[in-house]
Amino acid sequence: MPHSLVRVEHVMGMAISLDLSDDLPLPELERLADGVFGWLRLVDSVFSTYKPDSEISRLGRGELRREQCSPFVGEVLDRCAELWQETGGYFDINAGGTLDPSGYVKGWAVQRACDRLRAEGAANHCLNAGGDIFVSGSPGPRKNWRVGIRHPWEPLAVAWVLEVTDTAVATSGTYERGLHVIDPYTGKPASALRSVTVVGPELGTADAYATAALAMGLKGIDWLATLPGHECAVVTEDGRALRSDGLPVELGAADLSPGQ
């Protein structure tokens, strides 16, 4: 029986689950998992807007200069600035009135963790941070990971199933935390789209794109269709489901025997 390890921890205010499917000795898998969650806790301590003493909180209040922060704070803020431009201003880390790059940080942190796992020889894994996912290699018996996109009205149903690997899948939606994404041009919560999923090579970017599209409302549908190298799936608040042609949805589902 090959080894594998699944661990779920509560970090950054959400459930984060790590599935290591490499056939490595269990102590090695534990060590790798420790490294992943240690990194995520470090990121949280630096970027949490809920902690008044975090670097990002102090930076936002002007008590720290950027140069005084951890090196990757500047990297994150630079990328957020690029994403602000790429999204026509809809991905805005200042939209809520205070400096809050959380919409990028989570995906970025997961991506960094997965990159490190691959560098350490654990190329087969899945890391899911509150619904934003990176999958790498193979889950074991199958070639690709099967990633469900949650049905935005039914918590235990999926709307699509993707078969992917070495791929990021990010979903932003209003159905869990309510209307929490602000349209920076109106200052009001965006409500036209209920769920936006973006599939691409890098999770921080995919997450930012998904959040930006949600903020755009209906015109986010058209915008998503213009993104090179990314695929998407959208459910509108009035119940329309749309996806890009290239979305890697599973094939041959009818051949799967039920009840397995």
């Binding site: 235990l156 899948v169 939606g173 042609d245 041959g252």
Partner: protein, 184 residues
């Protein structure tokens, strides 16, 4: 049960299938997918559907699938306390495209009314003003999103992408339960 692709695979179409999350979706989703766990209290009820004839979205998993149901109404969700049964695959192959419809410029937006697993009506809607072509850079950038019913099968899911849960313990528990529920 079928997945229904209410459109047109046409290149310049952005077609909206009125999937409707009550009748149609309940029809399309395998019965075993019904939520055996409580709906989180934070899961807001959907906004009322526009009066286009589509069934209103179902507020949560316990909604009945009576409106607009013509055939093969699914059994009501069976509450269970143990881990949910593995989802079953009951759909036929993939999606079914309608006849292609081509328009010269811009999009035409259709509403496909799905009931009892069948398309019962297709309506042409006025495009919302927000759907302006102004965001289009050029022809190559025309949207190619296709519409379809929310009808995925979910056998052997490794993980689930979704909107982030809040951090209450209840939802942490729910998240891990969902992960397990979808793992074959």
């Amino acid at each position: 049960m079928m997945a229904l692709l209410g459109t047109a695979a046409g290149t310049m179409l952005l077609v909206g299938a009125k999937a409707g999350f009550s009748g149609p979706t309940d029809q399309a989703l395998p019965a075993a997918n019904k939520a055996p766990l409580p709906v989180p209290s934070g899961s807001g009820a959907p906004a009322p559907a526009a009066g286009t004839g589509g069934a209103p979205p179902a507020p949560g998993a316990s909604a009945t699938a009576t409106q607009g149901t013509k055939t093969t109404a699914p059994a009501a969700p069976k509450p269970t306390t143990a881990a949910p049964k593995p989802p079953r695959t009951t759909m036929k192959d993939g999606t079914f495209a309608g006849n292609p419809i081509y328009v010269e410029y811009g999009n035409i937006e259709l509403s496909v009314i799905v009931s009892g697993g069948k398309i019962t009506d297709i309506k042409v809607l006025d495009s919302p003003s927000e759907h302006s072509r102004s965001v289009q850079i050029n022809k190559n950038a025309l949207p190619k999103l296709r519409s379809e019913a929310l009808a995925a099968q979910s056998a052997e899911i490794d993980t689930v992408s979704g909107a982030t849960y809040t951090s209450s313990g209840y939802k942490l528990s729910l998240q891990s339960a969902i992960d397990r529920a979808f793992q074959a």
